[in-house]
């Protein structure tokens, strides 16, 4: 920066500290009547291309963050968070049964789901409203999205393992049965 003269420095400081945009007259009055127009022009040139700029709105001048830096003022900070059990169960039911209404999801889960659970899945971008079922009350239908397939590495929904696959993988065995199997297996392990 070229060293600014006293008037330029004064105008710069006054505009910076002011809580609102100021007219050239207001600045001049504040500085005891000196002419500030050329100082304003100098400042505008000085700040051109910087992260801050001097702008004129109507008759008033003020400093503001450069327009192309505005995105820095509102940053989104992403935090990884694990989906709750209710969330993952609800998502699984929608994925296997889509499109499904909330009542249908609850019937399958055997537990009520909170509005928040569906909100989280929508926020994650994995489910979307997919029309309404033409029954009394016209309940909203939910279906999975392309982002859902992408996140879980699926080409299509048909890539989801079927019930037979789940059974083969032991995923349909009730938990207590699995425990029994483990209990039986134990003596061998202990040898």
């Amino acid at each position: 920066m070229t060293p600014p003269d006293a008037t330029v420095r004064a105008v710069e400081a006054v505009l910076f500290a002011s809580t609102e945009p100021m007219t050239a007259d207001a600045i001049r009055n504040h500085l005891g009547g000196i002419d500030v127009r050329s100082a304003l022009a100098t400042l505008q040139a000085d700040y051109a291309g910087r992260g801050i700029e001097l702008v004129r709105r109507g008759e008033r001048w003020h400093f503001q963050t450069a327009a192309d830096m505005a995105h820095l003022l509102r940053r989104t900070h992403e935090e990884p968070r694990k989906l709750s059990r209710a969330g993952i169960e609800t998502l699984a039911i929608i994925a296997y049964h889509e499109p499904a209404t909330r009542a249908e999801i609850e019937a399958i889960r055997g537990v009520q789901i909170s509005k928040g659970t569906l909100d989280v899945l929508m926020e994650a971008g994995w489910i979307r409203p997919a029309g309404r079922r033409e029954v009394p009350g016209r309940p909203l239908l939910y279906a999975t999205t392309a982002a859902f397939l992408a996140h879980f590495g699926l080409a299509t929904r048909r890539d989801l393992p079927g019930l037979e696959d789940l059974k083969a993988a032991g995923l349909l065995d009730p938990v207590d049965l699995q425990f029994e199997t483990m209990e039986v297996a134990k003596p061998y392990d202990e040898d």
Partner: protein, 280 residues
């Protein structure tokens, strides 16, 4: 080094003349005289905050470096001030305590030194002087601090900052395994469960109904329900036959075809056809 603190104080034993009335003391730093908080617990005398504050003001009136002040002169100034003030004001106790202590110090300094007395009066005088120096140092430091270019008074931050906003966004995570396993759990939890009973000899209700109605028809007197069971009934089959026969008996009683009799709970249960009594 001629100026051992103790020796210097000894050398200062001459009483310095007091050039001005302590009542008209100037305050060294006017900047320091700002509004006092109303909750202040100490009683101010002409704006002094306690005896140390007053002593320091008196010491400064000697117009010398605090290192060179005459403690005896200071003591005299203080005692005179307190005497005058006491006539006009109800003086706070700590001023009087300090006055008594200073009076003691003065006499100790003036009398020939008693080596038995510890601490020596010179030491006491030196300690007082050190305390005054410290208070003075902090008072001057405070004055310099508040005279700096202060934000909001001399320098200013931006008048209308846009402010920075950080919005937190959850990046939801789940694995394909979690998804599939969850579906497995739901399915296992809610799919209809079919119970297959292993082969067991049973007498159905229909069979018992047919058998009891037939047998009741040919008998006319009260009979134990057990006598309706097949003679070869054993074990589980007998239990099943008994249960079914009992249900059959209840059903027939409901239809008005038989009547039942039992003396007390768990007593033998008797059964006979209705009309059998009439016929008898």
């Amino acid at each position: 080094m001629a100026a051992s603190p103790a020796r210097r104080l000894t050398g200062n034993r001459t009483l310095h003349p007091i050039s001005r009335s302590p009542r008209h003391l100037e305050f060294g730093s006017v900047a320091l005289r700002m509004t006092d908080t109303p909750e202040t617990l100490t009683l101010d005398i002409d704006g002094w905050e306690g005896p140390m504050d007053l002593l320091l003001a008196l010491a400064r009136s000697q117009k010398v470096d605090l290192k060179q002040i005459s403690i005896l002169a200071l003591v005299d100034q203080y005692l005179r001030f307190v005497e005058e003030a006491q006539a006009a004001l109800e003086l706070a106790a700590d001023y009087l305590v300090m006055a008594a202590w200073l009076a003691y110090l003065k006499s100790a300094l003036l009398l020939p030194r008693d080596p038995e007395v510890e601490p020596s009066p010179e030491e006491l005088a030196l300690r007082l002087q050190l305390r005054l120096e410290r208070l003075n140092a902090m008072r001057e430091a405070g004055a310099r601090l508040v005279a700096r270019d202060r934000v909001g008074r001399d320098v200013f931050t931006r008048g209308a900052p846009e402010g920075l906003r950080t919005t937190r966004k959850a990046l939801w995570q789940a694995e394909i395994y979690d998804l599939i396993a969850a579906y497995g759990v739901i399915t296992a939890r809610t799919r209809p469960v079919m119970h297959i009973v292993a082969h067991r000899p049973v007498m159905t209700l229909e069979a018992a109904l047919a058998r009891v109605s037939r047998l009741v028809g040919v008998e006319i007197d009260w009979r134990l329900i057990e006598t309706f069971l097949p003679a070869d009934a054993r074990g589980l089959f007998r239990k099943s036959a008994l249960a079914s026969s009992f249900l059959a008996a209840l059903e027939l009683a409901k239809q008005g075809k038989v009547e039942l009799r039992q003396q007390s709970p768990f007593a033998p249960l008797y059964i006979r056809a209705i009309g059998a009594a009439a016929t008898a």
